[in-house]
Symmetry: C2
Subunit: 370 residues, 2 copies
């Protein structure tokens, strides 16, 4: 009657999830405790402290949404936008497009700054957008576009955004804990990420953080947040309130896993972790180029941990090659999305999947097959 399930041992080198450390899996398998247990509440405080350190922020409203990164995105937008608000959303891949879609569902008027996939948004584009929409409630960008592997510079754009007293909202799903990301120094007002990329915890949670300026906007809303589940006015009393007011039942085991994954980041050190991702990326890049792969993104804006590459010209069927890698070598890499479907691969070296051994396995397998 029961279904047997014995998952294969994979090496996860796609756009996420990445491999989880055995300590993370072990923490997750601890027996459950109640979500209002003093031991759990204390652990939530530790998670908050470590998420603050990993974001490089002192923001008090820093916590973990009990759902995947897409819900983190929705949390940021539904709390800051009200019907009729104007905002600027920069789109250079799937996830910028998703932000615009969500902002429109909030009833906001969205000014889209469109950039070809694989490129990043320039300061000049933001200046032009601010001429068209001089007082946006917020300007949103994707720090690391998971669909293309482009890394968006944020510091100069942040200045432009704050000059007009607008909020800077950033998608850091694929940059958090993998490349330099400095929430306070860069003046980011609302940020969300996911648990399953460079952090190497299982997917399902979304760390977020809000600046005091963002909280002010939140507290001055004229309308209720359209989502009850994601309403920060309620959630913040659970995660950040003096009394842990019951809101929803936290995903206890997933938080155990996140706590241990954050421990691993703290032990390694954030800067060492960034360096590791760059160093392994350099090695992967050299090996891939020697095999005839070509990078989609200009070197200047190339994300180290997610490598988007055109296949060698002699590969006629990229999907068949990915299947061979998965079935014969247990290595997962990602295909392209949207216009790049069938044209590129997205090779992740994120968190626990960011090692020379992973690169050597992948390159060795490709040499055997090609």
């Amino acid at each position: 009657m029961a279904y047997t399930f014995n998952p294969p041992k994979r090496y996860l080198m796609g756009p996420g999830p990445s491999d989880a450390h055995p300590r993370v899996l072990k923490a997750m398998a601890s027996p459950l405790i109640g979500h209002l247990d003093p031991h759990f509440v204390n652990m939530m405080d530790e998670v908050k402290d470590m998420v603050q350190k990993a974001f490089l922020t002192k923001n008090n409203l820093t916590f973990v949404v009990s759902a995947p990164g897409s819900a983190g995105m929705e949390t940021c937008l539904v709390n800051l936008l009200e019907p009729g608000d104007e905002c600027i959303i920069c789109i250079n891949g799937v996830f910028g497009g998703r932000m615009a879609e969500i902002a429109e569902r909030c009833g906001a008027k969205v000014h889209k700054v469109i950039t070809p996939w694989g490129k990043v948004t320039s300061e000049q584009q933001i200046k032009d957008a601010l001429k068209e929409c001089p007082k946006p409630k917020l300007v949103a960008l994707v720090h690391a576009e998971t669909s293309t592997g482009a890394l968006q510079p944020l510091e100069e754009i942040s200045k432009l955004v704050h000059e007009v007293d607008s909020l800077l909202v950033v998608d850091a799903v694929t940059s958090f804990c993998g490349v330099p990301l400095k929430v306070d120094e860069w003046g980011i007002d609302a940020i969300y990420t996911g648990s399953q990329k460079n952090l190497s915890a299982p997917p399902g949670l979304s760390p977020v953080s809000f600046s005091p300026r963002a909280i002010e906007v939140l507290e001055n809303r004229k309308t209720k947040v359209q989502s009850w589940f994601l309403d920060l006015n309620l959630v913040k009393n659970y995660w950040a309130g003096a009394k842990r007011a019951y809101h929803h039942t936290a995903p206890v085991s997933a938080v155990f896993a996140l706590h241990e994954a954050l421990n691993l980041v703290m032990e390694e050190g954030l800067e060492n972790r960034w360096k590791r991702h760059y160093e392994v990326h350099e090695y992967l890049q050299k090996e891939l180029e020697a095999l005839g792969f070509r990078y989609l993104v200009d070197k200047e804006h190339r994300l180290p941990n997610l490598n988007s590459v055109y296949l060698p010209e002699n590969v006629k069927d990229e999907a068949a090659l990915r299947n061979t890698l998965l079935n014969d070598f247990n290595i997962e890499v990602g295909g392209g999305l949207g216009d790049f479907a069938g044209k590129i691969w997205r090779i992740g070296i994120m968190g626990e999947s960011c090692t020379h051994n992973h690169v050597n396995m992948l390159i060795g397998a490709l040499k055997e097959i090609l």
Copy 2:
């Protein structure tokens, strides 16, 4: 630098989560695989099949929301309601009130049927509400009120709802897999539950199911669903479409756990599981009453798996007693919510926590303390 976390071994006898079976914890600790891996996709099909069997439904649109039960509630309401719609929501505890709150945030006009906490909604109340609001888009009830332990009869009310061509929406968070629940036979059009009660998987997922009539309403919406993350038009292509269109990254490990928890339900058999909850409840009730506890809910509408009881008169400080149970005996029971805070306990015997051993531990500890 890292935070040590060694959770205590608790016996979870509150309103959820309940104890997880070691097989569930072990399944969850399996190494990750990708959320688009053929092995994972196949397992999602098995999960869907088992959720259908546990709901006793053939509904094709049966799947698992990647977030806790509260998000399952929001999924049902935001997809079926549009601004200006009228609906009837029955409130006899916290969770009916939450449904009304969410429905209002959808822009719906909500007719509230208010019943004292601990009681259930009568057919006559529904008839009266239908006079005031003869064509509601939906009528929503809580099958098992987690805040009070009342079990709502649904069959006769379902007939009234369908006579006016309305949809029946049911909260089954605390009834699913614990007491008789027959989605197709009872004509339930939209239902949500949680993973952490009688199913005894970790909290964080919400199985849901929608009837063909509900899908018709969904497909004839005039406006977009306000939540992108919970929009069934998108999610159904991921869980129920021929091609698994990427929507969000599924919480892989949590689905592993859910799969194994559902396996345990299938092995035991749904009817045997219902019987076990009733049988252990009878034993618990006898023992509690002998100690001077009194039940809040009339016997006829008493939920077996969540026992709401007034404390013996000689207990002056219920919170202190709960703390002693937790700290000295590692047994968690729940306190009261709302008007019942400080007055009642909510004692859960759900899923893996529903054994004579659990009852004997609790009663033995109480006898030692009192």
